[in-house]
Amino acid sequence: MERSMSSTDSKPSTTSASLPQRAGRLALFGPPPLLEGEDTAAYDDPLVRISGAVKPADIFEEIWVRDIVDLVWEALRLRRLKANLMTTVAHKGLREILEQLMDWDDAQDLTDAWAARERAAIERVDELLASAGLTMDAVMARTLSLKLNDIERIDRMIATAEGRRNAILRELDRHRTTWGQNLRRTVQGIEEADIKVIEATPAKKKSAA
């Protein structure tokens, strides 16, 4: 976090939070929600970028920024999972299509070779699909139908994460409006206290020559 306040007083502090303060806050917010194999640096990147863009002005905003980063991270993770899942089970969709185009045994062997990315198998699959008037889209559609429950579940989780992120952004907006009003009132108070009535001084008479 670039800026922070020691409390939610109506004006932000101009200095950064001290290291022990930051460490304490990180403990209160919990560790980053990383799963096995996930990169800390990859998580820190959106944290730094979002913190830099939002510039949290008080502890509430720090909490929200952390929430937004966690939710963005979760949505990204789930999107990656969806894409990887489709890729890793594409051979199952292909196998089902090939079973209709050739012998069962041959379909198993060709699918295994295709999954191992053997050039000859890939070319043979393309030929077979083309001869049946199909493309890889048909394979992906079959794969989707095989994994529809999983994909739907992942989509719902993504929608939940995005919905929560949007709700937090709205709260951040509302909070900043309130904070802005407080700040404006405080500034006005300071300015009014500082304004001095300047008494008009009589103009000097020109001395007659």
């Binding site: 020691s6 409390s7 939610t8 007083d9 109506s10 304490g24 806050r25 209160l28 917010f29 919990g30 929600p33 799963l35 096995e36 502890i59 509430f60 909490i63 966690d70 999972l81 990887n84 899942l85 890729t87 890793t88 089970v89 994994k147 429950n149 999983d150 579940r153 992942i154 989780m157 939940t160 929560r164 709700a167 709260e171 509302r174 909070h175 309130t178 904070w179 009003q181 407080n182 009132r185 405080t186 108070g189």
Partner: protein, 200 residues
Amino acid sequence: VISAGKINANRANARASAGPKTAQGRAHSARNARRHGLSLPVLADSGLSEEVEALAGEIAGASATPETLELARRVAEAQIDLRRVRSARHDLVSSALCDRDYESPAAKRKKAKLAVAAAKLGARLELSPHLRPLISQLLSGLKSSVPSSPEGPQKFAIVLSDMTRQLAALDRYERRALSRRKFAIRAFDVARREAASAAD
């Protein structure tokens, strides 16, 4: 409807049971009904209560009135509760993903069924030696169809599928904590605005 005789017999049997004897066993059985402990309020845990107080103090600031501190405490309580729920969800998914031998209940059931079928075929092998080649082929087919432990995205998808109910329950806890935090922050903001107006 259970008969009175059966109820009496159950009660008599239960009275005859000595229950867990060792301290470890008693401690374990004391936690039988506990699933995640999230229905308990945060303040019921002394460690978390301290964290709530620390966060409330930081939110309210040094010159806080008792009213402001109370409002800050509500925010802090919701925030710590939220952290607790998220941590429980993370631990649930993470422990399953880290388990190298993770198997879904469905895969376990399938394996058990296949083992029974293989045992039956094996028994046939002894009785009908002339069917040996066919049965051997079937046995090897059965063994190869036993699902291996999933990995990568498939494992993640299976874990999410297996834990749908737990994750949905944790999601409800999270939604409630988020709502509590939102209204607590709004109340804190209103109080702060009113305090600023009064000071003017």
